[in-house]
Symmetry: none
Subunit: 401 residues, 2 copies
């Protein structure tokens, strides 16, 4: 039986509150010099105290050995099967900028890039032009009509943009124009199946026109598109868990992800303190909060061990404010590991701590990878975290007579 | 979603090397006198050092409480679902002696046995006749044509042989003639379904003719057949993992098993030292090695605790040679437990250690059943070992956006 269907069957609405704090890229690897992971090196007295009171474990985001992208990593944390619920990059980016997709729309993630006089890509990010410049260029490209298909072009951040194709019978089975390397020309978009030929033609026409329009706008004199996708309809968290859920995230993609599972996405500032302030302001209005912290992952992606350590310490300093709100259930975990040593996401399982009045504490007193190995939750699939949080919030009825 | 399909999707070819050392029947049970398992009693400083540097756990070959045969135990280690990929004993034996099976062929594992004057089985192994004698007798039986079905008879080792039935519309749904006990007559082969009646008749005719031919060849005056099976086409390890895989195993069945998943089976001698020499000679030519060690399992099957202890110490002595090759990933585990106390395979989970630069070591410093309980891998399905090895060899791309 599908686990979510079971949860839907036994869940009940109640006033108890759950806070899920996702520290993006939380898990790490030991540094060669210190012999400690980022989390083991960080001074995190508040997270350690939470671990001592709560129950700990290691979460497997997708499966043993599998390195998760951000989307499947988060969907799993929300309790959704990350294989059944695949979300394309284009759709995620569109959702993250509050662009309402209609059924049948195809969204692509785009980059402004730089071509040299021979048409070869010299910079896939067009020197990271400002968001303002990008918005100006997007206005030049927005609103075309190609063979009856309307094209919507919106800036995201710096060189990144979203392109939405809205029309009849559009297909996602087309290849990227972004070759994800420099020194070569952008790829033609190709249909993977005959039925997608018309869509590929429309996209190629758009790209050709965009090139002409951008000709004089060096360094942003071309666009690269990838991740053509349609929005999948998922059951909402309200339908499954009977929650009133809110998301507090400053980074577009995570806001988009929260929207796909039916969360209210709250306006918030960019810092952890801003996010906590948003939580406090909206605390009365919801009974589930997903708070997303990005800076830990960014530090890991940059290979900056020290910055990841200090980001974790930064998170730790706001934990008392979170605890002061006295939520019935607090869960702190990550969507995946991002070891500075690997400069990217990794497959390593992620520390998780859950605290509630009913959690049955274990002997773990440090919030770290090595301490959590011995925690009472053991190694658990990330999709088990929401059911566990729901149970600890006394929001699940008994199964069976 | 099928895990192998996911791995196929995210795997990438690279030069990094993985060595999977399978110590057959590795796990054990505490001896009544020493209170220690074979592995706990054995002096294994090199495996202990590997455990201290690596990450440990206990592998569940098939599922909790399930005692694995050698074939499913190994298929699980190679990452294949042992339920979906069943391989008959006859097919395995045929593959192990380089007998190329054609689609539709039915292979059976055979024993020469001894019947007394009343036709009762007195020795299922015909006094373990020599391989040479067996080859001579097989030649007498080989090449028959029964109702248009050709019969191929080949010696394996000592009293063991393979019989292949090659013809139209042959079915595997037939019972064994080998009753697996003495003091009774060989069984008639029976069709489990009407459609297999013709096949059963052909096999019974072959057995009757063989009995006449062998009449004067006491102690090998009869054959017993079991495990009638057809070869299943499995995706190869190259297709799934994009590896160039090689198998180093001296025992026929494991060579056959390696062939079914597309490994190159290297020529090697019978001892552990021979196998290590083969590894060294071929190290440059492949990026995945499966090394199979049989003597531990044989000692366990014989109920010989002390011999199993010394076999484990024997394996431990070659570990430095393996480490000296500096593979990117080393995995040491077993296909199942074979406690001397039980004189056979058992359901107990099997110690596993994985070492790589990226393994995120745990606190385990001994390679044993009781130490591995507290390892960072926890209890993991054997099918997770290959994905984990692939991840540690940095051969898996990220899943999802």
């Amino acid at each position: 039986m599908d686990k979510l269907e079971l949860i839907r069957e036994v869940s009940r609405a109640s006033a108890t509150k759950i806070v899920l704090l996702v520290i993006d890229g939380l898990g790490g690897l030991p540094d060669l010099i210190t012999g400690k992971t980022e989390l083991e090196m960080a001074h995190t007295p508040n997270l350690d105290a939470l671990a001592a009171k709560g129950i700990c474990g290691l979460s497997e985001p997708i499966g043993t050995g599998i390195t998760p992208g951000s989307a499947p990593g988060h969907l799993a944390l929300f309790g959704y099967d990350p294989f059944a619920c695949r979300i394309g990059r284009g759709v995620l980016e569109a959702l993250g900028i509050d662009l309402d997709l209609k059924p049948g729309d195809i969204a692509a993630r785009g980059n402004f890039c730089t071509l040299d006089k021979d048409g070869l890509i010299t910079d896939r990010r067009a020197g990271r032009i400002t968001t303002e410049k990008s918005a100006e260029l997007c206005r030049l490209l927005d609103g075309m009509d190609i063979d009856g298909t309307k094209i919507i072009v919106c800036p995201v951040k710096e060189h990144r943009l979203v392109v939405v194709f809205r029309g009849e019978d559009l297909r996602t089975e087309i290849s990227d124009s972004d070759p994800q390397q420099t020194g070569i020309v952008p790829e033609n978009v190709r249909a993977k199946y005959a039925m997608a030929k018309r869509t590929a033609d429309i996209v190629n026409k758009f790209i050709a026109r965009a090139r002409k329009i951008l000709l004089e706008h060096h360094p942003a004199n071309m666009v690269l598109l990838r991740g053509f996708s349609k929005q999948q309809q998922l059951p909402t968290m309200t339908e499954i868990y009977k929650l009133k859920p809110a998301a507090i995230a400053s980074y577009p993609m995570y806001r988009g992800l929260a929207k796909t599972v039916g969360m209210d996405v709250l306006n918030t500032g960019a810092t952890i303190e801003d996010e906590l302030a948003t939580l406090k302001q909206n605390y009365a209005g919801y009974n589930f909060f997903f708070i997303h912290i990005k800076e830990t992952d960014s530090a890991g992606e940059d290979g900056d061990y020290n910055r990841k350590v200090s980001s974790l310490e930064h998170v730790d300093r706001v934990i008392p404010e979170l605890i002061a709100l006295n939520p019935d259930v607090i869960v702190v975990t990550g969507d995946h590991s991002t070891p500075a040593m690997l400069k990217g996401h990794s497959w390593h399982p992620v520390p998780v701590v859950l605290h509630s009045q009913w959690c049955r504490s274990d002997g773990v007193s440090h919030f770290s990878e090595s301490a959590c190995i011995l925690g009472g939750l053991g190694r658990l699939p990330a999709t088990d975290i929401m059911p566990l949080a729901m149970a600890n919030a006394l929001k699940l009825n008994k199964f069976g007579a």
